[in-house]
Amino acid sequence: MDIRIDRRDLLLGLLGSGLAVTAPRVAYARVPDDRRFIFILLRGGMDGLSAVPPVGDRDYAALRGALAIAPVGKADGALGLDDRFGLHPALAPIHGLWSKGELAIVHAAATPYRERSHFDAQNVLETGGNAPSHDGIGWLNRAIGLMRQDGAPRGRDLGLAVNEAAPLVMAGPARVATWAGPGGGAPPTDYLLDAVDRLYADSPRFHAALATARDTRALLAASEDGMAGKEPGQSRLIPVFGGLATLMRAEGGPRIATLEVTGWDTHTGQGAVMGKFGKLLGQFADALAELRRGLGPAWARTVVVAATEFGRTAVPNGTGGTDHGTAGAAFVLGGAVAGGRMIADWPGLSPQRLYQGRDLAPTTDLRGVFAGVLRDHLGLPAADIRRQIFSDAADLAFVPGLTRG
């Protein structure tokens, strides 16, 4: 009981009262030893071909047109990974992890879902099945349930629910704690405001009021950030990632957590280096760097996996963006990661290799990444993972050697 209250105070104190809107939801659980696992849901369909551009693929630049990232070494060029892949320049804050061997990237990866609905795709990503499931149980919840059987019951330590529900990936019979910022006070995200503004296109009164309000807010933010010596917009995700890091670093803190970052649904104005996508990616990278900093020595025992429900179309659409696609990229990082390498059975980008002629083709099942981490980092038996966590996935190929074990 006391622990719960302390934690809650800690959370609220750390995260302040003004983060509700952008705050990714946090749900946490413990594992029997001091290993940490964080799963980050990138909701909206992150464009893997922009985040981790295959600049060495001969079809890439022509295919991507205005959205293409320049080759390594060119102005605004990608940050070098290997001879085929680079990182989007906005990911500079985590580029250093690559040479340290603390960052691996999975590419041309997807869930088994092949349609184009965000909600169904997220459902499949989170439940780990072959198709949308309505039993309300996430794969990470099933994993926590298995860990629980191993050791002494630690349910007491899981009980933190401030107000919001766990995301589907964490939801299910194994009790997990949840936290979400106290409601109110924080401004809506740019993503939501952009989306809402599209609804205001035919309502001059609403459109004008929103435009004025956003101008005012940008001015305020610029002056506040200026005083703090930060770039405008930089701080969006940092306090939440930093707060979670402090919690997970603590001796009695959570060992498994999920976070969400929304706003990846870049149908318009995506941009190459600059633009909506680059901005969000930069905020995400800053937040990851903050997570690493905040975890301190615990980073060495941490694996972070960041995945999205689907990639985006390979060819830009008519509005400077990309539409819902199929395969994309996922990040695996942490001090416990055996990184510095690409995990990709690269299908290529020539027209006949694109899935349905429009998307990066999937060659790696994302569940193999999750399964590999569960086995090699969290020590769950492979047979249990097959039978009880990803039971739909016959012959699931575990991605081997993701962690230092």
Partner: protein, 445 residues
């Protein structure tokens, strides 16, 4: 058909609950008219005498510097607790009602006869005022509503009538005290004739004199106050109001004066203008105002007939987005759309949001009540807060809501298909729900 159901549920309602538009669709006008005859919902909250007891307890605690009433170690604030219970009951009523038009009328007339908790002593009385002085009369005669509202203890207190003494009354002759014109002036300016209704300062004084005597008649010194007519305060003699002689008659003068005012053409025009502005458009069409004013005069101020007349106005069924929802209407309509039971509402949260949106319940800034035009509610910052509210509620309910059903049961009848596709294609479910609530189709009525 469904467009009309949308208008019925929003223009004249509090936003549809699931299934409501389908039920309205058969005959929207008849369904609304039937709502006028719905009984007032029962309440288990204290009546006026009970609320006055609580007011007195609070006052006595303050006077004695006592904070803990029941000795449990926690400070008590019975007046504020009653206020919260009244807000919760009102929210629940509005969210759950199957006769939302009736609640809309209660809100309208309660605002017309504003008593505001902006004056702290009104805190324990505003709720019971709405339930006992307003709600029973919203489909009755305006004259009865006027009497119930103007003479309720909350109004007598709010507009200083308790401090008014006839200069030549028994008490007035003894003490250096006199007339307080506040209630008399506001009845003429706000409640009946309207500011341009053709009265002058002599009429204000005359009505103030007529009203002398309505005050606290017993209590004080720790006993709960009882309100009524105290002849010892009443200004003797005949009065002349709007050119009409009101014969000396103590408390009876008030009835004569109210009858005169309630039947006055200026009152008909003033009320018709406000009603049409509220239910049809910010700039009320003159022809609609004429019709409602004429109906009012023809029926002797029968508010059921007048309300039915509003439903019958063609202008009311033209533009589904003529009005911006007030914050209260917005919050209630969101809860209704989510089929919230209204019972376990997080009232402190609702209150906080309503304050942020500029409309604390029972808290209008002046006796004129809340304004009723889009410009008053849709400033840039206010809109941002409305979107923030939409986003916050969406995150709270996100994984329990079927987005498709939410859209169908709210904005679908009046929203162009490309917009609906934008919402359905939102990057995450919470954003989709937030977009529904932030859409102009949801924010307006």
């Amino acid at each position: 058909m469904t467009r009309e159901a949308f208008i019925a549920a929003n223009r004249f309602g509090l936003g549809p609950r699931p299934g409501e538009m389908a039920a309205l669709a058969r005959d929207p006008r008849a369904a609304l008219t039937a709502q006028l005859d719905a009984p007032a919902p029962p309440s288990d909250l204290p009546d006026t005498a009970g609320a006055l007891d609580i007011a007195e307890t609070s006052r006595a605690m303050r006077a004695a510097g006592r904070k803990d009433l029941d000795g449990d170690g926690h400070p008590d604030n019975p007046a504020h607790e009653l206020y919260l219970r009244e807000v919760e009951a009102r929210f629940r009523r509005c969210v759950a009602t199957t006769a939302p038009l009736r609640e809309r009328l209660v809100l309208f007339w309660s605002n017309h006869f504003t008593v505001s908790v902006a004056r702290g002593r009104i805190l324990p009385l505003a709720g019971v005022f709405e339930r006992e002085a307003i709600a029973p009369h919203v489909t009755g005669r305006f004259e009865d509503l006027l009497r119930a509202a103007a003479l309720h203890p909350a109004m007598l207190d709010y507009l200083d009538q308790t401090r008014s003494f006839g200069p030549d009354s028994k008490i007035g002759r003894r003490r250096a005290t006199g007339l307080n014109e506040n209630l008399g002036r506001e009845i003429l300016e706000l409640h009946t004739l309207g500011v341009d209704g053709g009265y002058d300062q002599a009429d204000v004084i005359a009505l103030a004199e007529i009203l002398t005597g309505w005050s606290v008649v017993e209590g004080g010194g720790g006993a709960p106050r009882r309100f009524g007519f105290d002849a010892d305060r009443h200004q003797p003699g005949d009065k002349r109001l709007l050119g009409t002689r009101i014969r000396e008659g103590g408390a009876g003068e008030t009835g004569d004066a109210f009858a005169l005012l309630a039947r006055h053409p200026s009152t008909a025009r003033h009320l018709a203008t406000k009603l049409v502005r509220h239910f049809v458009a910010d700039d009320p069409p003159a022809e609609a105002v004429e019709r409602i004013a004429a109906l009012y005069l023809r029926t002797g101020g029968d508010l059921r007939a007048v309300s039915a007349g509003l439903i019958g106005l063609d202008a009311a069924w033209r533009d589904p987005f003529a009005k911006v929802k007030t914050p209260w209407e917005l919050v209630v309509s969101m809860a209704r759309a989510l089929a919230h039971p209204g019972a376990d509402a997080e009232i402190p949260l609702v209150l906080q949001r309503l304050r942020q949106l500029g409309q604390p319940p029972f808290g209008a800034p002046s006796p004129a009540g809340w304004p009723d035009r889009a410009d008053d509610w849709l400033g840039p910052d206010a809109l941002l807060r409305r979107i923030d509210l939409a986003g916050d509620v969406a995150r709270r309910v996100g994984d329990r809501i079927d987005l498709g059903a939410l859209i169908r049961e709210t904005i679908a009848p009046v929203t162009p298909a490309p917009k609906l596709r934008l919402i359905e294609g939102a990057g995450d479910l919470a954003s989709g729900i937030a977009m529904v609530f932030a859409a102009p189709e949801f924010q307006q009525r």
